[in-house]
């Protein structure tokens, strides 16, 4: 479904992704974790070309993304859903319009069908009563759920999540994770950058640990959490799971 082949990314001289090889099969849920600045966000932004590849290639459904331009790139992007850390809802549109806009203007779906789809998805994320609300009238958790509904409305084959709960207040993380758990068990291919180790342990098929643009660990969650191979992974997990007791390590 997604295959990274010796992927590199440079920002000028800064080498942020250094030769990543990774293969994700259809229906897999892959969690990518790592310290900040490790390149994990950049890695998933390369999949739908929000960042341009510097070297190597990524195959999505056997199609090379490096060579895609304009129309075929837009076509690919409609099949890859992307959920942002900052939600990025369109503030001048209601929740419903946020969902229907791309359905109508990109996929050319009739307004009536687009609205039906929006209503159905808002219901699915538990926000049926917020159709007419503007983003600024919603809490962070609600905004992120609308953003997920907006992404699902396009019926993508792949979902990319870029730290979807990192900008949320702690008590709102649960409602977003609940929606993500439903998705993870629905059979859609998901690539999730997150620090939510509970989500990784419970729902991931594969956990990938990245540091300084290199994959250090690539394992099933049971192996990843119980017997991490790389010392850097062990240190990261200690810090993440009990931040108060790692200062002297």
């Amino acid at each position: 479904m997604i295959e990274f082949r010796d992927v590199h990314k440079f920002y000028d001289k800064l080498h942020v992704i250094r030769g990543i090889d990774l293969s994700i099969t259809k229906g897999e849920v892959v969690v990518i974790c790592g310290p900040s600045g490790s390149g994990k966000s950049t890695l998933i932004r390369l999949v739908n070309q929000l960042e341009i590849l510097s070297r190597g290639d990524i195959l999505v459904d056997g199609q090379s993304v490096a060579s895609l331009r304009s129309r075929s790139l837009r076509q690919l992007r409609t099949q890859i859903g992307f959920v942002f850390q900052q939600f990025n809802l369109y503030p001048h549109l209601t929740a419903e319009q946020n969902i229907t806009l791309a359905l109508r203007k990109v996929l050319s779906i009739t307004p009536k069908d687009a609205t039906l789809r929006a209503v159905e998805l808002l219901e699915r994320v538990g926000l049926a009563d917020k159709r007419q609300a503007y983003p600024a009238q919603l809490s962070g958790g609600q905004q992120q759920r609308v953003a997920i509904a907006r992404t699902l409305a396009m019926r993508p084959k792949i979902l990319l999540f870029d730290e979807p709960t990192s900008a949320l207040d702690p008590e709102m993380i649960g409602e977003v994770l609940t929606v993500m758990r439903d998705l993870a068990t629905s059979g859609i291919t998901m690539l999730v950058v997150t620090h939510e180790m509970g989500f990784a342990r419970e729902l991931a098929d594969l956990v990938v640990f990245i540091d300084q643009g290199v994959i250090l660990e690539n394992a099933k969650p049971s192996d990843f959490f119980l017997s991490p191979q790389h010392p850097r992974t062990r240190q990261f997990l200690r810090q993440l799971l009990s931040p108060l007791h790692t200062a002297n390590d």
Binding site: Q85, Q86, H92
Partner: protein
């Protein structure tokens, strides 16, 4: 020195009143025509300016620099005396002919060198400012908006039209309204080329019966009234200012 005495009838009666009426109409017409030209020019300049190609941006950058950094009076005089003369001779003859269809209600001629030069001069001058203000509004839209649109498969122009520009217009609407109001007020400079708008008529009254104080007071009130009505209309027609609740987007750490 005798006390101040006012003679309002000398301004608000007889020939001066007729002049003022014609002046108000002319100001309204030239403002409306200038509004249309300014809007059109702003759209074209903005389109060039935000193009992804440098070569297309340069003409727009040059036009903006020239018309923003020179006095409007000079520009109006240029269009009237030099610009009009650059038109082909038969065009000029045609414009100077009598055209009954080009006579606006109230007896203001649309196809006169004065009206055309004033409209064009005001339109270009205001258009460059409006284009730059909307561009500033565009730069104030969060970069995540463009990314969200691209990720959904929007192309450059559709992303602009449906997502970025509506927000940019809402951001820039107050200063843009200010520019349209400026256009109305700056139409007074067209008195210098003999366009018979409010300021021109006020000066005519002053030289007719020396009622300077009354004439300028009335003229000032007329501009004030037009400006307040126009400002209210434009603010109410503004892009979703009522429904778009701004500044409420939560920002992460």
């Amino acid at each position: 020195m005798g006390g101040l005495t006012f003679d309002w009838i000398g301004v608000l009666g007889g020939a001066p009143l007729e002049w003022l009426e014609l002046g108000v109409l002319t100001t309204l017409y030239v403002t409306f025509a200038g509004f249309l030209v300014a809007t059109l020019i702003a759209i074209v300049l903005l389109g060039l300016r935000i193009s992804e190609k440098q070569i297309i941006q340069w003409p727009a950058i040059t036009v903006v620099a020239v018309f923003r950094n020179t006095p409007l009076l000079v520009q109006i005089l240029f269009w009237y005396f030099a610009g009009f003369g650059l038109l082909p001779a038969d065009w000029r003859a045609w414009i100077n002919d009598d055209h009954s269809w080009a006579m606006l209600p109230g007896g203001v001629g649309l196809l006169t060198p004065e009206f055309l030069a004033a409209t064009w001069g005001l339109g270009v001058f205001s258009g460059v400012f409006i284009a730059e203000e909307i561009r500033a509004g565009l730069m104030a839209v969060a970069p995540g908006q463009r990314e969200a649109a691209l990720a959904q498969g929007f192309g450059h122009w559709r992303c602009l039209g449906y997502i970025l520009l509506p927000q940019a217009l809402a951001n820039a609407w107050q200063p843009v309204v200010g520019q349209y109001l400026n256009l109305m007020k700056l139409s007074s400079l067209a008195a210098a080329i003999g366009l018979a708008e409010i300021t021109y008529q006020v000066r005519q009254i002053e030289s007719y019966n020396s009622h300077a104080l009354e004439a300028f007071a009335v003229g000032t009130l007329l501009y004030l009234a037009i400006g307040m009505v126009m400002g209210q209309i434009l603010l109410r027609c503004g892009p979703r200012s009522g429904t778009m609740i701004r500044g409420g987007i939560r920002r992460g750490p």
